[in-house]
Symmetry: C2
Subunit: 382 residues, 2 copies
């Protein structure tokens, strides 16, 4: 049994810690929900951005996955992933990179919601003698991008793609509004809105004689709440691998499920204010204050001891670039424990995607307690 505390104490702070056991438990929890319905799970790797994490969480190692940047597509394809959806509306200037990834044997598909994009994908397909697969992005809940499922544009896009050198691969939607509501019942409602939008659009395309092999939905809250899978072929989710305070705040996970944390060192105090000052500011935590609008504002993060046990009502109250200020949550009545200078703590983040993006590696606490800490690399950029 390796002594975790002394291993962590040897790290330079701030450092990003990943608890592999929690991560694998999170992944299995969602797989167990989705797979029995004959629907595939297509994890969104924008959260993890790491080949080593991808190898752990993809059962066969080659997909299917979702990505948020072409850099992710290129890196995961180079590592052997064979089925990728790039789920940000394609820009014409990026199609050469899509063609390159596909030419290396990875089935990379793109998404789009307007005729300019459809024509650009059709032209690039013709020019390269390669059918680039495209999914039509649907707007199921008035959240961001996408075509309404009943919009005549849906059939126009399907027709342009199908009658061209490109490939009409299907439809895709994301219930972004599921982040704004609390609890299983509300998320199940969002999930049904998401499913219905995708299925209605798929049926319209098919009724018009167009193919729609893929019917893709998903967000972490809806993937965990979905009960009816009729008409779907796959479910996407991203932050479910790590979870975070935001997801805990909308009732999708427990604090104990959060698999990443930031290790920090106490460097001073302002005793009259009840503050401990640490070396994890917003550069280490990210500027994400997602919990600010939730029932419980977690500041820039929730404080845990080195073993990862939550210290109730102790938060990162303020953050400068390289300074965090730890204090009791205002109104909680809690007091700051004795934290001598040099004390190391772990901070749970508001948003796993944003916090992890501040680091180039994970320090991994392996599932097997007899295995020492290990490092997994991660990347950023586009």
């Amino acid at each position: 049994m390796v002594e975790l505390k002394s291993e962590l104490a040897a790290l330079q702070t701030p450092a990003l810690i990943l608890d592999e056991r929690k991560m694998m438990r999170n992944v299995l929890r969602l797989e167990d929900r989705i797979r029995p319905h004959g629907v595939s799970l297509r994890p969104h790797l924008k959260t993890v951005k790491s080949i080593e994490v991808a190898r752990r969480i993809l059962p066969e190692g080659f997909g299917p996955v979702t990505v948020s940047t072409l850099n992710e597509a290129e890196q995961f394809a180079a590592a052997g992933v064979r089925d990728i959806i790039y789920s940000v509306g394609i820009a014409a200037q990026k199609l050469d990179r899509v063609v390159d990834v596909r030419a290396r044997g990875c089935d990379l598909s793109v998404i789009l919601d307007n005729l300019d994009q459809a024509r650009a994908v059709a032209e690039a397909s013709a020019r390269n003698g390669m059918a680039i697969p495209a999914l039509i992005e649907l707007d199921c809940d008035d959240h961001r991008s996408g075509v309404a499922p009943d919009d005549p544009l849906l059939l126009e896009l399907g027709t342009v793609l199908h009658n061209s050198a490109a490939e009409l691969r299907g439809v895709l939607t994301h219930a972004g509004e599921s982040y704004e509501v609390y609890g299983r019942e509300a998320h199940a409602g969002c999930a049904e809105v998401e499913r219905r939008a995708a299925v209605v659009a798929a049926e319209r395309l098919r009724a018009a004689g167009l193919p729609c092999p893929v019917v893709s939905v998903g967000s972490t809250p809806t993937a965990h709440a979905l009960t009816c899978f009729d008409g779907l072929t796959e479910v996407r989710a991203g932050v479910f691998t790590f979870f975070d305070l935001f997801q805990a705040g909308i009732g999708v996970c427990e604090m104990d499920d959060i698999a990443i944390s930031v290790l920090t060192t106490v460097i001073g105090h302002q005793k009259n204010k009840g503050w401990a000052i640490t070396d994890a500011g917003w550069m280490a935590m990210s500027r994400d204050r997602g919990s600010a609008g939730q029932r419980v504002d977690q500041g820039y993060g929730l404080v845990c001891d080195m073993e990862g046990r939550v210290l109730p009502d102790l938060i990162v109250l303020k953050a400068n670039q390289e300074h965090g200020i730890i204090a009791p949550r205002p109104g909680s009545g809690a007091t700051l424990p004795e934290f001598p200078v040099g004390t190391m703590l772990r901070i749970l983040p508001n948003h796993a995607c944003a916090t992890a993006a501040q680091y180039d590696r994970y320090h991994v606490i392996p599932e097997d307690p007899d295995v020492p800490l290990t490092e997994w690399s991660r990347f950023g950029g586009w």
Copy 2:
């Protein structure tokens, strides 16, 4: 004359653009304010984190500079910088790295505000047979860390350091509260508070027979407003190199001074909402919403055309991880211009330090219009 627009159009978006001419104008503006007073300017390189930028903005190339991480200290020391203050309170676990940088010929000093740190610096100095220089951090405005100038602890710290193998290098303070007030007059008030705290503390140390060669103050707002330099030896500032919407919002710069921007591509629209969707979300802009509490809320950034001309009242209203939503500022009465899919725009950031940190390189528009775009690398991490 190289055609800027066609050069930018060849970049993959999102991309970080640095206008070298504006940067050099910003640097000269502050140098011209500070140098005539016989006080040195010690730029804070936490904003730029780039060897190439450091080479441009440090007249002699070897310092003095300020850094916010030991990784910056290591990288800039390796590039030849010879005088560095690491301006985050030192943690004992980091002293080995300080010793290593100093052993390579760079005069790296640390800051501290408590006896545990002073003893750790003293012990590391004795253990390594090397006098590690330490400045005592002062709290001039109740902002964050530091000892009050009239606190008995000041002399205790000075005595512990001076009567040890370490070196008492001086005092340092930062008027963090200057970011909370608007306009030259208010900043001049903060600058005088900052100066007085440093000078009072230096005089107390000297009256007690302790050395205090360095009296260091600074923040971008106070450095630009300081009128009395009596008793100071140096002024620090960081974001002045690039500036940003936050600094413009407190009246320290004009929009036209902001030297960095994010190049983005329009990928779609929601016409009924007056939205253009781009590929620069919060991963490209950072989550920093510093202007949210200012007179004019700039959203996630202010929109410019490709030449960098501000499009009035057009902001990044919302941002998801890889999507930006551009819309008129609420209440402005402005309407969204026609931005065909594929239009490229440049976005001014809320906070240069946070936005630049999302990238591993700058695409530099050189001062000389006959020179093509060039790339300068930047780094992150600790």
